[in-house]
Amino acid sequence: MKQMLQVVLIASVFVALCGRGQAASVKRIDALVREKQTQTGFPPSDICSDSVFVRRAYIDVIGTLPTADEVRRFLSNRNLNKRAELIDELLQRPEFADYWALKWCDLLRVKSEFPSNLWPNAVQAYQYWVRDAFKHNMPYDQFARALLTTSGSNFRDAPVNFYRPFQERTPRKIFDTVALIFMGVRLDKFGWTEEQMLGMDAFFAKIAYKKTAEWKEEVVYSDPEKKMIHPVTKEEVRPTPLGGVPLNLDPFADPRIAFADWLVAPDNPWFAQNIVNRIWFWLMGQGIIHEADDIRPDNKPWSPELLAYLRKELVDNKYDLKHIYRLILNSDAYQYSSIMTPENSGDIAGFSHYRARRLDAEVLIDAICQITGTGEEYSSPIPEPFTYIPASQRTVLLADGSIKSQFLEMFGRPGRDNSLESDRNNSVSVFQTLHLLNSSHIQKKIMNGPRLRKLMTSCQGNPERVNLLYLEILSRMPAPQEQKIALDYMATAEGGSSAGFYDLAWALINTSEFILKH
């Protein structure tokens, strides 16, 4: 009943807020998801509570833990459509661009050193460009086109770096990466013939590189002299789109442009499908096609209709990525509780509940830094003299995958070596547990962090301290039983209630409720 009521409430919210068009689209997604749930026999969990939703939305959309104030503001908001409002607000936050640039820099293998070898100046320019594209919500077709067709300097024309992080700069290696990133296809698994792949390689056969007088500067350009030669017939291979005929391009034309034309065309079967499936995967933890970067005929989508619908929404809305985020975030499927019911506990591939999963390495350390008011220190040994990143900069903004920390490695930050989604490892390990429980790194943040200390001294009385700690760390108020446990501990703690307060912060940071998004 409660669930029904919430569904009705949320449905009415959309009509009120986002206009009939969008509400109808969300409704359609809900209907397609429910249809599939009925088919598979896994009924959904309840819609999650407001305090669960606010934390989940902040973390998923902007990679940031909400502050106590932000949680309070949301919880006390009486507007019926406050979830949709929050989603809109988060999509406009600068952190949205920061967080999604991080994901894209993973795919684009943005790092200075081995094996990408982009070099620090190029890394900075590249990450800035990607972030800027998300900041201005650059339509996705333009985004892909810029990455695929730009010529110029790695320092000045940032998207050219797309063609640089390769140990072997061959047309096949490049097409392999293009197919993986923009089509979600692994060349060796899809089953295209060698001839088909050669025809695609030919689009990248004229890419050339040259050095300039500036140290480590490199110009990427199209060289009309270069040709793709067939390894057997020794004849020139003309660029040939999959399933199409060889193109008759002007010998002086840059074939990458023809490739981009083919790729971003509204009827291209891969381009839009790949990105809507990836966004679904990023937000839900499971792709409609899973894994999201292993699309092939024998890897069936959970619901082909749902995938097709999202794809059409993207194309019809001029490749506006935020539109897709908005639809998914407003859907029931995104807002289910992570608590499974006896009826849906066997649902592995479907969307009957929200998947509880560990925070990304960067998001987790940023969250701990936010709570404690501390920063992380990163430095790069190249070029000399060393570069030191200011501690005030959030880790999500760390542009260079070659800049490391023990924490980030331990929590599975991707090596940025292969553009695979699985390069990021969000599994849990004993090392991680030890580090959070008992390392001097975390302990120092808790004991010396100015924000926690301020919280300790500025609050009147332990009950208020406990409430605020819960809001800051778990984004909710404590249950009466929890408050009692916390107050009892503080009252009897060795070293007084101040020591007890820091132990309490330590304990909350070590709960699965904090470490997971749920």
Binding site: Q167, D188, A356, E409, D417, N418, N425, S440, T511
Partner: protein
């Protein structure tokens, strides 16, 4: 590059194995199992159980250490014109290494090391993984391979992780490579030369066991969410991890990290510095059954002030390494423990006297030296030879993959075996196994195995 695509499915299984890769998903599992079976040497034949890697980060100069060139002239040997004779006839080493000179029968010198690369990150990658760089695949370091082959999935039950880095990870690339985070080294942090050695996550300075217990209880009481989501896989795992973590924090294993109970004389002999105490710590870890310990000794990238640095660092290396070898030997551990010492490359034989280097040495990948001892490797031998001035290898080259494949074999790991990559392919442990690719090689170190 040793993950190759099989061009067609008609290929025989044997060939698919050779290519180190399987085409269709359906074929993957049986082949992988077959490869696994084929790739395992008889573990009874394994001579070594553990490896201590003394990684001289930055690249030590071969002329000043294991391959002195007293006839090359002042511009090459600088102040080190009097190499010291060892207890093995005909072998001389750098003059600062007087303690090591007394035990050359315990180790062999690999003077034919070469790969030709002068970049830290690429050279480190080649030496630590025994692979050449290639696209789309980052191979695991030897330590990660051991962690995979001799760690938890292979019956290792120790609470201390099977791959330990003292005190920091090497960090130029992802050590675990495609094997993934599970096989990364556990970096201790802290400094073993300080008391207590505050191993990150294990030894918390200033928190008593009693307070640990109380905090643990508080956390248990407040972790209501884990009870709400009980039964979900990730929660079960986190709960188990917490138990294991506390077994380490409050249990016996932490004694392994307590150096204060070691005899004072022994601690002194190792040297009262991070390198010396790291070596002592490494011995304790190996004694506790840890298969791979990497000591990342920094500071060897001496472009400037080279000789000033060497007169400080070489005596430290001398005490640390010689005491380690003696200590392992005294405890009967040297027979089963490979001690592997070296860096990613050597340093330019010709000294650069010009400013700003003023007597410095640069990176040199064409010729350099490593030292290897124990675990079935013979001592008292020299493998490979460099030219008069140490500028090139003139006989018996040793490429990084020759060395790593030899190490694997001593450990009972077949270098021709395969490892699973994240995209469902297989990659050979050693590039030498990939017969489809020509790779320079001087062969395994049969002379000393």
């Amino acid at each position: 590059m040793n993950a190759k695509t099989v061009p067609s499915l008609s290929i025989t299984r044997r060939n698919a194995l050779r290519l180190g890769m399987v085409g269709a998903a359906g074929m993957m599992l049986p082949n992988w199992l077959a490869t696994k079976a084929a790739g395992a040497l008889d573990p009874l034949k394994a001579k070594a159980k553990s490896v201590i890697q003394l990684w001289l980060w930055g690249g030590p100069c071969h002329l000043d250490t294991f391959d002195p060139k007293p006839d090359a002239g002042y511009d090459y040997f600088g102040k080190y014109d009097k190499p010291v004779a060892t207890n093995v006839n005909g072998i001389r080493i750098g003059q600062e290494l007087v303690k090591l000179a007394k035990m050359a029968d315990k180790y062999s010198l690999l003077r034919g090391m070469t790969h030709g690369n002068g970049g830290h990150e690429t050279a480190s990658y080649m030496v630590m993984t025994g692979n050449k760089p290639a696209d789309g695949i980052v191979n695991p370091s030897v330590g990660a391979v051991l962690s995979y082959k001799k760690g938890y999935s292979a019956g290792y039950t120790g609470l201390i992780p099977p791959y330990v880095a003292l005190t920091k990870p090497q960090g130029r690339f992802s050590e675990a490579g495609f094997l993934g985070a599970k096989y990364q080294p556990f970096s201790t942090g802290g400094d073993p030369a300080k008391t207590p050695f505050a191993v990150e996550g294990v030894i918390a300075d200033g928190i008593s066991d009693e307070r640990q217990q109380k905090r643990r209880e508080l956390l248990g009481n407040l972790d209501t969410f884990s009870r709400t989501l009980e039964g979900q896989q990730i929660i079960e795992k986190m709960t188990k991890n917490k138990q294991d973590a506390y077994s380490l924090i409050l249990g016996e294993a932490k004694n392994t990290f307590d150096l204060s109970k070691e005899p004072e004389a022994l601690r002194k002999a190792y040297g009262q510095h991070t390198l010396g105490q790291s070596c002592l710590q490494a011995r304790k870890l190996v004694e506790a059954g840890v298969p791979f310990v990497s000591i990342n000794a920094q500071g060897w990238d001496t472009h400037k002030k080279h000789f000033e640095m060497m007169s400080q660092m070489l005596p430290q290396l001398d005490s640390a390494l010689s005491t380690l070898l003696q200590d392992l030997s005294d405890r009967g551990l040297l027979d089963t423990t490979i001690v592997w010492c070296g860096g990613e490359f050597g340093r330019t034989p010709k000294i650069d006297w010009s400013a700003p280097w003023s007597g410095g040495r640069s990176h040199y990948g064409k010729a350099f030296s490593h030292l290897i001892a124990g675990g079935g490797f013979k001592g008292g031998q020299v493998v490979g030879e460099t030219s008069l001035r140490g500028e090139e290898v003139v006989s018996r080259p040793i490429y990084p993959w020759d060395l790593t494949a030899s190490i694997y074999e001593q450990l009972g790991i077949d270098p021709n075996g395969a490892l699973p990559t994240p995209d469902g392919k297989l990659a050979f442990i050693s590039p030498l196994a990939d017969k489809t690719v020509k790779i320079e090689s001087g062969g395994l170190l049969r002379e000393i195995m």
